[in-house]
């Protein structure tokens, strides 16, 4: 008889996502699919002015409509619900889930309807009449900083949410500032690049908008809350706190989540309101965000203005960097709002050994939707500011942009490397990524092609960008929630495996990658493993998925819990096989003594024995289930190099992306196919930011890009075929060597495309162009010598 086939090692293989069939066949359950007996529906009446005092709210017509259960104004909600907490240690104005007397951005809730279905609820919300005393609105952060024409929160003069925090060289932990080193760097410089740059506001636009179902059961005194969230455990913590329940009394469930991109980390007013109303009325309630609401009610991303000064010697050696950041955070602080721009400061050294850096940060309130995390969250901004400045420096010195980078890289032997900004980069080999990207792009040949195209009068340009990002977010000192992740691995009686993860995947593919790891660990087929997530009733502890942490932190916890269970299972197997546990191999669905596979016991039979252990081996408890918390010692710092080629239509200014080459180093890859998918998505959103995406408000604070008719999101047809490759520099900070990759694509792509467009328009003397690269903006540079910044 032929030996049974040996199961292949799965880690490192391009295993197809197990999640996809149910998602693409419409068999997945999202929040909006949840229906409970007696469930009522919420609709929010939202402000249509950007800034105003509420004179009166007339809810009479709404209350008498058929099917309307209740209507609550902000004042009535305030009796049920404390102000919303934030998750950062910064001062914050009072923020009510439903505005009480003043609205501060268009779309802020002013009342909420409870009705028998969402259509009645929507009609009733329309029937509420609100009278406002309109106040002046401010949408320009630099104007807002003067306190004119309005102060949005009286306790925050000049609209300063966070006023001028310095960081970097010469700034001590106590906050004392010594300018000598940074001044000396600029005094010694042969050349200084100075540029104001805008990293514009974006709308995260998840395919599934937000939604919540809250079900308080008065008989039990407990709450179940379903939400389209990236972090059900954090949701549980905050919902418990605001509803006066214990964390044991709240179960939070994130069913299928159709994209988050950072915008579903925040705990939103609608979630608190749903929980409070459900508890108050003793009935289940549901709210489903519609697309128009999503544009105003879900947090926006980016919107950071940078004044960048880069000092260098004439040979290209960078001596110093000054970064003055102004973050337009919108009308309120949300969960992580204030912390996001601090990541821009943290990453100001980029991939370079910059001896002196000074960054300052000011965060400003404006009458816009609040900002919070959006894919990359502070790091794309840092990458953009520094890489644009490096590109300008290369142009100024007439150096090849790749060679300028090479000259200033942190070298492989310098890792771990502590930057002037306090980041400690774990590992890196930037030159290797650069060289592979140059080789794959055929950089010198591209230059020849570009020059040949230019000789024909075409506007063709090349751009290159490096990036390094901070991922694998933890340890606990960096997050108020704690920075660990948790897993419980259970070998079931039939030999199948279930593993919980506190990482709450919503597109990251962890049902596949974590199963790949366990399949290899236990020598069983992938199909025998189920990854459980997104339910605090099932997953005992967790933090969530953000900051590209699910694999590096969550995956490590799974691996650790698996190792503990495996060790116990080996003891049961050793008893059965009368062997020493260290001599056993787990392979091919069998546990056997090394060198004699025929003598082995099936994995399932050992599992069965562990649950009916007759006799019970000495020193063992029955069962095969164990848990692990993984607390990383530090963040991981993946990196890469992106290269693009762009052509601009001379007559219309329309840019076309001809080529995008990316080399990304995320350490060891569990599943290169999923990694590529993550990079594709990140590239799409990064290219989207560069070329077609921008949230636009008018001077009165009215959102002008409030639908897909005016807010463009990238489609497959907007891109060339991406040319991807990877270098592998493992992190020493976790046993997997994995760093994280979810956000990477948004970092390198934006500055590399702007660089290519500036290169294409170099004949017009332009040095920098702010995103988004509207055709009209480029047309003005071509035809009128304006619009660009030179």
């Amino acid at each position: 008889m032929a030996a049974p086939p040996v199961l292949p090692k799965l880690v490192g293989q391009r295993v197809k996502r197990r999640e996809d069939p149910r998602l693409i066949q419409g068999r997945a359950t999202y929040v909006d699919d949840i229906a409970l007996v007696g469930m009522q529906h919420l609709a929010f009446k939202r402000s249509d002015v950007a800034h105003g005092r509420i004179r009166s709210i007339d809810t009479r017509a709404a209350k008498v409509m058929d099917g309307v259960e209740a209507v609550f104004t902000g004042a009535e909600i305030a009796e049920l619900l404390a102000p919303m907490p934030i998750g950062t240690p910064f001062p914050s104005p009072e923020h009510r889930a439903v505005a009480v007397d003043t609205v501060r951005y268009g779309g802020e809730p002013v009342a909420v309807v409870v009705a028998s279905d969402r259509y009645v609820a929507r009609d009733a919300a329309d029937a509420i009449v609100v009278s406002y005393e309109t106040l002046p609105a401010v949408v320009d952060p630099e104007l807002a900083m003067t306190g004119k024409p309005t102060v949005i929160h009286p306790a925050f003069p000049n609209n300063l949410a966070v006023a001028l925090v310095p960081s970097g060289t010469g700034v001590s932990a106590s906050g004392s500032v010594d300018d000598s080193a940074i001044n000396e760097a600029f005094a010694k410089a042969d050349v200084v690049i100075s540029q104001r740059m805008v990293n514009q506001r974006l709308a995260p636009t998840t395919m599934e908008p937000r939604g919540v179902v809250a079900h308080y059961e008065p008989g039990k005194g407990s709450m179940t809350i379903w939400s389209s969230t990236q972090n059900p455990h954090i949701l549980r913590t905050f919902i418990a706190a605001l509803t006066g329940l214990g964390q044991d009394q709240v179960r939070a469930i994130a069913p299928e989540v159709g994209g988050g991109f950072g915008s579903k980390i925040n705990i939103y007013g609608e979630e608190y309101v749903a929980a409070a109303i459900s508890k108050h009325l003793g009935i289940p309630v549901k709210w489903s965000e519609d697309r128009s609401e999503a544009f105003v009610a879900t947090t926006h991303g980016r919107d950071i203005l940078g004044y960048v000064d880069l000092a260098a010697k004439s040979d290209g050696t960078v001596l110093g960097l000054k970064l003055r950041l102004i973050a337009d955070i919108g009308a309120y602080n949300m969960l992580l709002t204030a912390a996001i721009p601090t990541l821009t400061m943290l990453m100001a050294s980029a991939t370079y050994n910059i001896p002196a850096i000074r960054a300052t940060l000011t965060e400003v309130f404006t009458n816009k939707t609040p900002t919070d995390a959006y894919r990359g969250a502070g790091r794309p901004e840092a990458t953009y500011f520094v890489e644009r400045a490096m590109d300008m420096l290369a142009r100024e010195l007439k150096m090849d942009p790749a060679e300028l980078r090479r000259k200033n890289f942190i070298k492989p032997h310098q890792f771990p490397f502590a930057t002037q900004m306090g980041a400690v980069y774990d590992s890196g080999d930037y030159e290797k990524a650069l060289d592979l990207a140059l080789k794959n792009a055929q950089w010198d040949r591209l230059k020849t092609e570009r020059d040949a195209a230019r000789a024909q009068g075409r506007l063709v340009g090349l751009g290159l960008s490096m990036y390094v990002e901070v991922c694998g977010v933890g340890p606990s000192s960096t997050l108020p929630t704690g920075g660990w992740e948790h897993s419980q691995v259970t070998i079931e009686r039939d030999g199948r495996i279930s593993a919980t993860t506190g990482a709450s995947p919503h597109g990251q593919g962890n049902e596949t990658t974590f199963a790949q790891m366990l399949a290899d660990q236990f020598g069983v087929p992938l199909e025998h493993i189920t990854i459980l997530h997104g339910d605090t009733g099932v997953v005992k502890q967790g933090i969530g998925t953000f900051g590209s942490r699910s694999q590096a932190v969550g995956g490590t916890a799974v691996h650790m819990a698996g190792a503990k269970v495996k060790s116990k299972m080996a003891k049961f197997a050793a008893a059965l096989l009368e062997a020493h546990e260290d001599d056993l191999v787990f392979q091919n669905g069998m546990i056997s003594v090394k060198g004699s596979p025929a003598s082995g016991k099936s994995f399932a039979s050992v599992a069965g024995y562990a649950y009916r252990p007759v006799p019970l081996p000495e020193g063992l408890e029955p069962g095969l289930s164990d848990e692990a918390f993984f607390e990383p010692a530090n963040n991981t710092y993946p990196f890469g190099c992106h290269i693009s080629m762009v052509e601009i239509d001379r007559q219309t200014g329309e840019p076309t992306l001809l080529k995008l080459v990316a080399v990304d180093d995320a350490g060891h890859l569990i599943n290169p196919l999923i990694v590529e998918g993550q990079i594709h998505g990140g590239l799409a959103q990064g290219i989207g930011q560069a070329m077609i995406e921008e949230v636009v408000y008018n001077e009165d604070g009215q959102l002008l890009t409030g639908s897909f008719m005016d807010y463009a999101i990238p489609r497959a047809g907007d891109f060339p075929r991406f040319e991807l490759d990877a270098t592998v520099t493992p992190t020493p900070l976790n046993p997997l060597g994995a760093k994280g990759v979810g956000e990477a694509g948004t970092l390198g792509s934006t500055p590399c495309i702007v660089a290519a467009v500036v290169d294409a328009l170099s004949e017009f003397g332009v040095k920098h162009i702010d995103m988004m690269l509207r055709p009209e903006k480029l047309w003005r540079i071509i035809h009128q010598g304006q619009g660009g910044q030179s």
Partner: protein
């Protein structure tokens, strides 16, 4: 994104549709593909009490020859126009323009009649109909009437179509030497500027030209000055370029929005006029060979 309540009924013939509409006392609207109407309803900018579905009226969709002419039923989807072998053969501009509308979902559902009746200032079809001097066939309580495209578009979202009338289809003489060129708005893929050109060329001479412009102003119009500049001229690159330079100069009302200022739009009119003219010219030349 939830409309106000409405009733729904399906019409099985044009007369049935008209009768059902009459019965709503002005509170009803026809719906075919719904790709203009439904977004307006979801934003509550349009709140009809009754929707009368005309999408399944037998014979209302389809592309066929009618004597020397081509007839396109009002219910024909953009996709069916874009992929019509007949149109690609005898009047490729129409298929070319349809293929540039919106995105695949819009093209699968949206219809020619809906686009013409709605008359979005940035819709593609109105320019095409102007260039073809299409006849728009309309049925109402008093029976049939025919409106030439150049009389049909009257203003912003305003056409020569009474509230109690329905578009049944369009007819036009196919023109092979015709082309459409468009600057896309990247979010909606409506036209920032769209230009449709139909040339009547004989022995290398442009006997006449008709040029329709969309996206630039509140409704689609003809570029008469360019048409006149081309009439009687030899079909040549210099003549085309010279004529295109005139395009839009006489236009008083030019749109401005976050996607394109008035100045930029104005500058794009000659650019896309020239591109459409060159497209039409290359088709004219291909025919001669």
């Amino acid at each position: 994104m939830i409309s106000t309540p409405f009733e729904y009924s399906r019409a099985m013939s044009l007369d049935d549709a008209l009768a059902k509409l009459r019965a709503t006392n002005g509170e009803g609207k026809f719906i075919a593909g719904g790709h203009s109407l439904v977004p307006l309803m979801k934003l509550r900018l349009s709140e009809p009490k009754v929707l009368i579905d005309i999408a399944r009226i037998p014979g209302l969709s389809g592309i066929r020859t009618k004597g020397d002419k081509i007839e396109i039923g009002a219910g024909t989807s953009h996709h069916d126009v874009a992929s019509s072998a007949l149109l690609q053969q005898v009047c490729p501009m129409v298929a070319e323009a349809a293929a540039e509308i919106g995105d695949p979902q819009v093209r699968n559902r949206g219809t020619l009649g809906g686009s013409l009746a709605h008359a979005d200032p940035a819709a593609d079809y109105p320019a095409v109909m102007l260039a073809l001097d299409a006849e728009i066939h309309v049925k109402g309580p008093k029976g049939w009437r025919m409106v030439h495209a150049h009389d049909f578009f009257r203003g912003l979202f305003t056409v020569d179509l009474a509230a109690d009338e329905i578009i049944a289809g369009v007819q036009f003489n196919p023109v092979r030497s015709a082309a459409y060129a468009k600057l896309h708005q990247r979010a909606s893929h409506f036209a920032i500027v769209g230009v449709a050109v139909a040339l009547d060329v004989n022995n290398g001479v442009i006997r006449s030209a008709r040029i329709g412009l969309t996206g630039a102003s509140s409704y689609a119009t003809r570029l008469k000055d360019v048409e006149e500049a081309l009439a009687g001229k030899a079909l040549s690159m210099p003549n085309i370029e010279a004529a295109a330079r005139l395009a839009g100069a006489l236009l008083e009302d030019v749109n401005s929005d976050i996607h394109a200022s008035q100045e930029y739009r104005r500058a794009m009119i000659p650019v896309f006029t020239e591109r459409a003219l060159k497209g039409a010219m290359s088709r004219a030349l291909a025919r001669i060979q």
